[in-house]
Symmetry: C2
Subunit: 196 residues, 2 copies
DNA sequence: CGCGTACCGTAACACCGTTGCGTTACGCTG
DNA sequence: CAGCGTAACGCAACGGTGTTACGGTACGCG
């Protein structure tokens, strides 16, 4: 007997899509529920019935960002050489961040005030790193890397890649420092430091 | 003939101080000009006559953050061994970030919407890295590091340290992983990758 | 003493996220 | 076929934000 719902899955996707565009075009500040609703031809209520709140909508973008990230990392072909594989993964990581810089900002910096990823989103984020974890464990098992705790190499590699990419994206690097030029070299040097 | 000004240097410092406390206590979202003015016993106009706008006030916090950062990095004693010095600088970097996590967020993530550091602030930020640049150049000159472009080692070291610290502060690292435990080891491995 | 003037607090503006309320629009029932 | 019950939804209000225009204020000089 109720009136049929128009706040459906299609609208949910449309809102997510438009929200991503608004953020990508003018930054996180430009994401307003009123503007978003108007763009999608609906009302602000839609966001609340479909997502719960603005932070919850951003959480959905966070999940979407990690999904795209995971796709790219999983698509990296392995060579069997752990150092070369770490470099490849790092290159894919940077490419992914540059493809969606504002999604990257949502994922790794707190660019939307008040947003904290929920538990499920955190698990997903964690799972995205599986290719990295796998490569490091294989490198240790094969005797290529020193016999240290895998986490040490995993976090060190992740930290370097994340640090370089986020310095680059946030514009904190002095202009004469080009990440592109030294990126692969830095990744290789870092991985080499763990060789047996 | 005018009435004597109460929006003076003392009030400027008081506002900066209170703004830092508000941000440190409840995050960047909690920094409201009305609350800040009330806390300081003045009106919102003070912020506009002393700083220009809210982003300009945040810019002053940005500068203050880099000043403290520079103090700590400059206080690091050198051993003459480039690898050991890079580790020491990294430890000081992390300590500085942990001492003022919300200032760190202002400095390196875009945690306050609408804020972009101005040119002078950018120069100051750059100058903060001098101890790092110096250590790397000496390490290359002494023949300890390979004869690569200094920028490669500088950016790689900075990237690793920044990446680890910001992953740690943003809570993106898996809970079972302790940065403290593997931090120095990772820095040493990274620096070692550049040895001749 | 009072005038001139720079200063500064108040209040308005436009916008934000969020929420309660009243309307709407359907499908089942009589 | 008419009407009712009910879930869904848009509108408008609420308390907040940064910012700005304005008008009262309080001093030093003539």
């Amino acid at each position: 007997m109720p009136r049929p719902r128009t706040h459906d899955e299609a609208l949910r996707l449309k809102l997510l899509d438009r929200a991503g565009e608004l953020i990508s075009a003018d930054g996180p500040k430009a994401l307003s529920l009123r503007k978003l609703a108007a763009d999608a031809g609906t009302s602000t209520t839609a966001v609340y019935s479909l997502f719960g709140s603005k932070p919850d909508l951003v959480n959905a973008l966070y999940v979407e960002g990690f999904r795209r990230f995971g796709e790219r990392l999983n698509a990296v072909e392995r060579t069997g050489d752990a150092v070369a594989d770490l470099v490849r993964l790092g290159v894919a990581y940077r490419a992914s961040a540059q493809a969606d810089p504002h999604l990257y900002a949502i994922m790794f910096t707190r660019s939307v005030p008040g947003f904290e990823p929920n538990a499920e989103a955190d698990r997903l984020a964690r799972a995205t790193l599986e290719p990295l974890e796998d490569t490091v464990r294989r490198g240790i098992a094969s005797g290529q890397f020193a016999d240290v705790a895998p986490e040490a190499i995993i976090v060190s590699s992740w930290g370097l890649v994340h640090g370089l990419v986020s310095l680059e994206l946030s514009g904190n690097l002095p202009p004469e420092f080009s990440v592109s030029g030294a990126y692969e070299e830095a990744l290789r040097a870092n991985a080499s430091g763990w060789l047996k």
